[in-house]
């Protein structure tokens, strides 16, 4: 008997030993490549925490990314990426903080509290003193743009993060779209919007458009249809739809452009909800909208949208024009972008609808941790600064050029020896035509350096050099529709709460948000009656949940931001 147990144990142990070997082998990969110590441009290794991506089977670690390889060689560094499993990013990030195992560079997407606290606790470095000297390009960029500058520094003049800068108008990727073909069919090609415009612009126009769609769907014999798909919470958290009624997303600036307001508690929002309710009762709004919480907000119920059974929904750039058609199945869609309908009845104008928020000019941010000594810090900053130059930005954003791709294994493997892009004789940027062919596999971000770097599509000095190559005319037109209204009622993304305000935010925000998200769909569906009285009871309840305290916190943060 003991023999059996001993055997069992032995077996387990030997398997374990084997297993253990596999584990330890991996421990010391970066021990090679040592350079003489007195070399001023000594080879350095820095670690970088960032969330992972799908590398399309080309490689398994961001370390092997072609752009990373190029940057490593150029700056005589090794970037060692630490990427958590997809879906465990927040856990992993908090573990890193909790165990004080900081990487040298950290992407801060999953950090929810104040950066000032992290600085005070000695976790991250203040970059402001180094900026002018070691990051001349980034510095110049910030000086050229008031909003960027304000965003980059905090109230005390520290700078903790290097941002990924995004050109909002050019990269506008989503908004509401409508099926033009339905209107053409129903009117026999004679679409006449009450506003007299070519495209629907007012609530009246939508009142003309939605019944036509309903009629069309009723005649189509499709069982499950929806003229207008709204998000499960009844409004767009980013503000696109209710902007037409003059209401902001969640936090925004009031009509005076100075007071911070909470969109779902305003009079304009009441107008919006009333209209939605009217449309819901009339059968225009998707009857099942509230149950579709898992539809990504830009991919609402694909069985409706892609099945040709939806009229208006939140679409993405790619869906515009005839992309969604299936001619073989008799499905010919003409999808066009549509701005939020203006509530002219209550006198809302384009200027007042300036509360559209979709993309902030800065998205990802990265901090440099206190694990870096000054020398390392300077080397890292120098590398990142390159990414804010036009050349560095292009390589990061679009991938390698022919010259660089010539000796890159991955580019060879996929057949992009000519590089991902080039500049033609007129000085325009063009993508390699190969990548536009229908059978070109979508490599996503595997071939460029968008994930890594700071300078992604920094605003260009010369607007004539704007990149148009990704978009055709229809997509340009869509971007134009989506960015039609001003953004001056948007709360700038650089507004940061201090520790005290953050505590207020943590205390009240979820309760308020939960209550709003519960009530708005009920108002629209009719589970809760919607009248002036019930609305003011609802607003009162919001105040009871701490809305005013929350607004005060946001207001003082905004005022500090203004003074920067």
């Amino acid at each position: 008997m003991k023999k059996l147990l001993a055997l069992l144990l032995c077996g387990t142990m030997s398997i374990g030993l084997l297993a253990g070997c596999g584990g330890t082998e991996k421990e010391s990969p970066a021990a090679d490549g040592s350079l003489p110590e007195d070399n001023p441009e000594e080879h350095i290794t820095f670690t970088y925490w960032i969330y992972a991506d799908d590398y399309k089977n080309l490689y398994t670690s961001l370390n092997d990314n072609p752009v990373v390889q190029y940057l490593n060689d150029k700056f005589n560094v090794t970037m060692e990426f630490q990427t958590p499993a997809i879906g465990s990013e927040a856990d992993n990030f908090n573990l890193m903080l909790g165990t004080q195992d900081y990487t040298d560079v950290m992407n801060m997407t999953y950090y929810t509290e104040s950066l000032g606290t992290l600085y005070e606790e000695g976790v991250i470095l203040d970059l402001a003193p180094y900026l002018e000297e070691y990051m001349p390009n980034y510095y110049a960029l910030l000086q050229s743009n008031e909003e960027l500058r304000r965003m980059a520094y905090d109230d005390e003049g520290h700078m903790f993060t290097l941002y990924t800068l995004d050109d909002v108008t050019r990269n506008h990727w989503g908004g509401f779209v409508y099926r033009r073909d339905i209107l053409e069919t129903m009117t026999g090609g004679n679409v006449q919007f009450p506003s007299g415009n070519e495209e629907p612009t007012t609530v009246e126009d939508w009142d003309y458009m939605l019944p036509l769609m309903k009629e069309y769907f009723e005649a189509s014999g499709l069982q499950d249809t929806a003229c207008l798909i709204i998000p499960a919470i009844g409004y767009t958290a980013t503000g696109e739809l209710q902007a037409g009624w003059g209401a902001t997303g969640i936090f925004g600036l009031g009509m005076d452009g100075e007071t911070v307001e909470y969109g779902p508690s305003t009079e304009q929002f009441y107008n919006y909800v009333s209209k939605m309710k009217e449309w819901y009762d009339a059968g225009y709004v998707y009857q099942d909208f509230a149950s579709r919480t898992n539809d990504l907000f830009y991919m609402p119920n694909t069985s409706l949208t892609y099945g040709g059974a939806a009229g208006v929904w939140f679409g993405i750039l790619q869906q515009v024009s005839d992309y969604m058609s299936v001619p073989d199945a008799g499905l010919n869609m003409d999808v066009r972008a549509v701005p939020a309908p203006l509530d002219t009845e209550h006198g809302v104008t384009e200027e007042m609808a300036g509360s559209r928020v979709t993309i902030a000019p800065a998205t990802d941010a990265r901090c440099i941790s206190s694990t870096c000594d000054e020398e390392k810090l300077v080397r890292i900053l120098t590398l990142f600064d390159y990414l804010y130059t036009e050349e560095g930005d292009n390589i990061c954003q679009r991938g390698l050029t022919a010259e660089l791709a010539a000796d890159d294994e991955i580019y060879q493997k996929v057949g992009l020896e000519d590089g991902a892009w080039y500049v033609d004789e007129n000085g325009n940027y063009c993508v390699n035509p190969k990548t536009l062919e229908a059978d070109w596999p979508d490599y996503g971000m595997a071939l460029n350096g968008q994930r890594i770097a700071g300078g992604t599509s920094a605003p260009k000095e010369d607007p004539a050099n704007e990149v148009r190559d990704y978009h055709d005319d229809a997509e340009d037109a869509a971007s134009g529709q989506w960015t039609k209204y001003p953004t001056d009622r948007v709360l700038p993304s650089g507004v940061t709460l201090n520790a005290e305000e953050n505590a207020v935010y943590q205390k009240y925000y979820t309760g308020i948000n939960d209550y709003v998200n519960t009530m708005i769909p009920k108002f629209i569906i009719g589970t809760e009656e919607l009248t002036e009285e019930t609305w003011s009871a609802y607003v009162e309840q919001l105040n009871a949940l701490g809305l005013q305290e929350l607004l005060e916190a946001e207001q003082s943060a905004y005022e500090r931001y203004q003074e920067r």
Partner: protein, 296 residues
């Protein structure tokens, strides 16, 4: 064993078989749906709703081709099988010993031991302290970090305990008189009668280990090559998470028709081996019945 067929029995049989057939159909449907979706035309799949009874459009293996082209899937399979084997061996030893001890009436410390184990089912320290323990043991980023924390479970011990309880004490009495030690009684006399129960906990453990990804995601941040299949699968299933949808390219990726298809294919690739495993465990359940029948 011959059974007399009374009218009541006939009616019962009809109802029972009828119910089982209906329930069986309801149970096959979701898996059938996944299977059909995984070979459907990705564009049509996107515009479909409800359960699929047959593939949409022409049958395509593109999704599977993409999944199997991923080298991580093979690595994941190997790792998972390794983890399942090792944890199962340790788990069986631990659960049998634990269950046996808890079923000993003569043991004074039995109650305390039971509470000691039960508490571990209810209370846990959470992610950060667990990580620190693993780090302190020096097994971070090794296979042991996945194997050890999950390989014993008070639940299985309790199940084995009640299985031992279920046996009549008379079986061990005679052995005891012959002077057999507790280990001999446990392994030689009692264990052979509990094949079905061991089969159950083995199956539970295999399924749990097969699907487990959390420990690996926490304890193996720097060793992707040690990840189990479930973690790779989760990456595919959960990709396009709204949390990180910030840039235009992310959004365009989401519109990629094949992404949806791949999710179904990964589900099939990940669960098929488990579905095939059940009949093996089942053999022990049926064998038990026959044994009883033959003896009678």
């Amino acid at each position: 064993m011959v059974e007399k067929l009374t009218p009541g029995r006939v009616i019962f049989n009809i109802l029972n078989y009828g119910f089982m057939i209906l329930f069986g159909i309801a149970c096959v449907l979701p898996l059938w749906h996944v299977l059909m979706a995984s070979v459907s035309d990705p564009r049509m799949l996107m515009s479909a709703s409800g359960i699929l009874f047959r593939p949409l459009g022409d049958i395509t293996m593109d999704g599977y081709r993409m999944v199997l082209a991923n080298p991580s899937i093979i690595t994941g399979y190997i790792n998972t099988i390794l983890y399942v084997l090792i944890t199962t061996v340790i788990m069986i030893a631990g659960s049998v010993i634990g269950g046996f001890l808890l079923s000993r009436r003569e043991l004074k410390l039995k109650g305390l031991l039971a509470i000691f184990l039960l508490i571990t089912m209810m209370f846990g320290g959470g992610m950060i302290p667990s990580y620190m323990v693993i780090k302190g043991l020096g097994i971070l980023n090794t296979r042991w970090a996945v194997i050890l924390p999950g390989c014993m479970n008070a639940f299985y011990i309790m199940m084995m305990k009640s299985a031992f309880d279920q046996l009549s004490p008379s079986y061990e009495e005679s052995a005891k008189l012959d002077g057999a030690g507790p280990l001999t009684i446990m392994v030689r006399i009692l264990l052979p009668m509990l094949q079905a129960n061991v089969a159950v906990i083995v199956m539970f453990n295999v399924i749990m280990q097969w699907n487990s990804w959390f420990n690996a995601s926490i304890y193996l941040p720097k060793s992707r090559d040690l990840w189990p299949l479930a973690l790779y699968m989760r990456e595919v299933l959960i990709n396009n998470d709204t949390a990180k949808m910030a840039s235009s390219l992310d959004a365009e990726q989401a519109a990629d028709y094949t992404a949806n298809l791949v999710k179904y294919c990964v589900t099939v690739v990940g669960t098929l081996p488990l579905l095939c495993a059940y009949p093996f465990a089942q053999k022990y359940f049926v064998a038990g019945v026959q044994m009883g029948g033959v003896k009678g």
